[in-house]
């Protein structure tokens, strides 16, 4: 009986050790692959390293869209601060001046090199971070 109990104890310890380390690994993978979401104002106050992928949400500033061959440059605003974005590729159909946009990319000397530009399916969409204000 005692041997049996000892065996069970070892099994339980082993199991919790395994699942514990598993959970830690998942958490580690999570933490090293997060995209932080900022508004332009937060982006300016926050210190962000160049190799950290960020998401920035705001409205496309009127009159800021400028094309250079296949690259498109524009400015995102939250009506208090702005950030410049540069992107190569096709912007979504709902992308237009004065409407909401979310950009995913890396900061490069204060400018955002975008990997992805997202506009919402819904034309009434506003980034949630702006809506709260």
């Amino acid at each position: 009986m005692k041997v049996h109990r000892k065996k069970r104890l070892i099994n339980i310890l082993l199991l919790s050790l395994l699942s514990g380390s598993g959970i830690l690994m998942v958490l580690y993978a999570l933490n090293s692959n997060l995209d932080y979401f900022f508004t332009p104002s937060e982006l300016i106050t926050e210190e962000i390293s160049d190799n950290r992928r960020v998401k920035v949400g705001g409205m496309v500033l009127e009159g800021s869209v400028d094309r250079d061959n296949t690259t498109i440059n524009f400015t995102i605003t939250d009506y208090s601060e702005t950030v410049d974005v540069s992107y190569t590729g096709i912007v979504p159909d709902l992308f237009k001046e004065g409407s909401g946009v979310v950009v995913l990319g890396y900061l490069n000397e204060g400018k955002l090199d975008a990997e992805k530009v997202l506009a919402k399916h819904d034309e009434n969409y506003m980034p949630p971070a702006l809506k709260e204000k």
Binding site: L27, A29, L30, L34, T70, V91, P128
Partner: protein, 630 residues
């Protein structure tokens, strides 16, 4: 008038489902006349609800814009087909359809015969009370029957144009059928626990129901992926969007559940675990409903931001989980301590499989909920994207496939014959390595993890090929569904790996009559055409492509829909066995130039083919069960 009738019928149906539940509670469940009463009560409640839904379809077809929901999501200019599908293009109607399907599964189950009257009646009662919960949710928080006051608008606001698409018309219904189908194993498992008779083989009884729901879920997810590929213009098949993930979790759990069901019904171990899984699968389906319906997570799919809906669903799920897990815990002692699982037996391998599925589900759940928790604690919005999921799914899938190929010859209750089985493994490993070197020769350099995935995909396919040939030669039994599904898994791994390293894209600025070259494809911009259609105007660009001496035309479009003024892109895709040529146009620039995006998407068809193989294997399992019965 018709609207009122439909509304009353829904309310009446809720009352009769409640009555069914009460009957199950108070009647003697083991006698046949109370069974008949319960059966009839359920059927009537369902039929009333179905009539209510059909009336609603009629209202949508006849452009009854005094109904607020129809006015907001349909339009008199829409073709009839989309007038019907507009019903599930937003929250209220989707919920309506969801409950119709939920009660439909119960209805078919209700008609089936079962010798264990008690368990069957209890299941009907459980299904009824779940339906009541959802019907109240529909009628109280998301009423599709609300009218526009004081005057009905003349014309509807239109369905979202990206949703005007045949694949999208059938994607939600198929997905919902899958989600809610797991109510049958869930209810039967609870009934089994309440009944406390462990000699009843509930696992065998719910097998075909569970497989059928799994087939719908598989097809529903693939349809969504296929639709996103050609409609959104991004050219991908999976984006790790939270709403995709909440569909993936029940699929993973259900796949684990089907595996453990076969263990529990064949060798009487893992019974407790299988019961728990049936609860987990259904809860994850409900969790999916909660995530999508509450708008708690920022996603391209989220419909509505209504905290009341979210709170109701959360409370509902909490009650269901609390009751079912409480019941589960209180009945743990009804099983005599089960036999130990023999090392390296089929049972042991499937247990390992379940652990892998568990890790994937847990990680996905973390990926979905972590941003919510993080924001609560640090007041900082974050999102979890593809890099995290790739970091988890790639290694786990590789580990799981290793176990799979080792386990292929394993038997129930017996240790695997390592000698014979491993010979086959070495042969398929050798063949896989040859295949991998060929791939490397043609494709060039690739990362280690991609190489390993190619190898694993190849080994699975070769190992099953050897198995089939060997069993045909020795005239032995072949488990065809298992072979097809797992070969599908191998194909899926291969095509995802190939797609990720081969696919490429390029953006051009082009004027009509200009020519560009991309890889070995010559692309000539022929002309632009303006088209007027019933509910949208469109600019159609025509390109002549020349590829290895074969020439063809592709015509991507830009559309402007009248009702909402929304602009959408239509991609043009040349489908070829190995790769798709995928063309989209962006905006017009100054000087008459257009932004044109060309993508080469490799092996993308095989991704859906492998999903189709899995779904087909499920149908085979069901047809086998039916044939064996008759």
């Amino acid at each position: 008038m018709i609207l009122d009738i439909a509304h009353y019928l829904s309310i009446l149906s809720t009352a009769i489902f409640m009555l069914t539940f009460t009957l199950v509670l108070i009647l003697d469940r083991s006698v046949s006349h109370s069974t008949l009463l319960i059966k009839r009560s359920y059927s009537h409640a369902f039929l009333l609800f179905l009539i209510s839904f059909l009336l609603y379809v009629y209202l949508a077809l006849t452009d009854n814009f005094s109904v607020s929901y129809i006015a907001q999501h349909s339009n008199s200019l829409l073709p009839n087909f989309y007038k019907v599908t507009s019903i599930w293009s937003a929250h209220e109607g989707s919920m309506f359809l969801w409950i119709i399907f939920l009660s439909l599964w119960g209805f078919i189950f209700n008609l089936s015969t079962d010798r264990d009257l008690k368990v069957k009646n209890l299941s009907i009662g459980i299904i009824s009370i779940i339906i009541v919960g959802f019907q109240l949710f529909l009628l109280i928080t998301s009423n599709p029957f609300e009218v526009v006051l004081p005057f009905a608008p003349e014309n509807g606001a239109d369905i979202n144009p990206v949703l005007q698409d045949p694949a999208l018309a059938i994607h939600p219904p198929t997905l919902y059928l899958g989600y809610v189908g797991f109510v049958i194993p869930f209810a039967y498992a609870l009934a089994f626990l309440i009944n406390k008779d462990q000699s009843i083989e509930w696992e065998k009884k719910v097998k075909s129901w569970s497989v059928m729901a799994w087939v719908f879920l598989t097809i529903g997810i693939s349809l969504g992926s296929w639709w996103a590929y050609y409609e959104l213009g991004w050219g991908g098949y999976w984006f790790w969007d939270p709403v995709e993930n909440v569909a993936l979790m029940p699929w993973l759990a259900a796949t684990a559940f089907l595996h453990s069901l076969s263990v529990a019904s064949k060798s009487n171990v893992l019974r407790i675990w299988t019961l728990l899984l049936s609860i987990i699968v259904f809860s994850l389906s409900l969790f999916g409903a909660f995530i999508v319906r509450s708008g708690i997570i920022d996603s391209i799919h989220s419909f509505a931001n209504d905290p009341q809906r979210g709170m109701y669903l959360l409370a509902f799920i909490a009650v269901i989980l609390f009751v079912s897990l409480g019941l589960f815990a209180s009945r743990l002692n009804m099983f005599e301590s089960s036999k130990n699982i023999k090392a390296l037996s089929k049972e042991s391998f499937i247990s390992l499989n379940n652990i892998f599925f568990g890790v994937l589900i847990f990680s996905t759940m973390m990926g979905i909920t972590y941003p919510l928790i993080y924001e609560l604690i640090y007041d900082q919005k974050i999102s979890v994207g593809a890099p995290f999921y790739n970091a988890i799914y790639a290694p786990i899938t590789i580990l799981a496939t290793m176990i799979l190929v080792i386990s292929i010859d394993s038997r129930w209750g017996r240790t695997i014959d390592t000698g014979r089985s491993f010979n086959m493994l070495y042969i398929s490993l050798a063949m896989g390595l040859i295949g991998l070197s060929l791939i490397r020769y043609f494709v060039g350099d690739m990362s280690f993890i991609i190489m390993i995935s190619f190898l694993m995909g190849l080994i699975i396919i070769f190992r099953y090929l050897i198995l089939v040939i060997k069993n045909i030669l020795e005239k032995k039994y072949i488990n065809t569904p298992s072979v097809i599904a797992h070969t599908g898994l191998g194909l899926l791994i291969l095509s995802i790996s190939a797609n990720s390293i081969l696919s490429s894209e390029k953006v051009f600025n082009m004027k009509p009559n200009e020519v560009r070259k991309f890889e070995n494809i010559r692309i000539e911009f022929n002309d632009l055409e303006l088209l007027n259609n019933s509910n949208h105007d469109s600019i159609k660009a025509t390109f002549a492509l020349d590829h290895n001496g074969k020439s063809f035309y592709l015509s991507p479009e830009k559309r402007k829909y009248f009702a909402r003024g929304q602009i959408t892109s239509e991609t043009a895709i040349k489908i070829m066995p190995i790769r798709d040529i995928y063309l989209t146009i962006g905006e017009q620039l100054e000087g008459g130039q257009w932004v044109v995006n060309v993508q080469l998407n490799y092996f993308i068809r095989f991704i859906w083919l492998s999903a189709a193989m899995m779904a087909f294997s499920g149908l085979l399992i069901i047809s086998n069960i039916i044939r064996r019965k008759s």
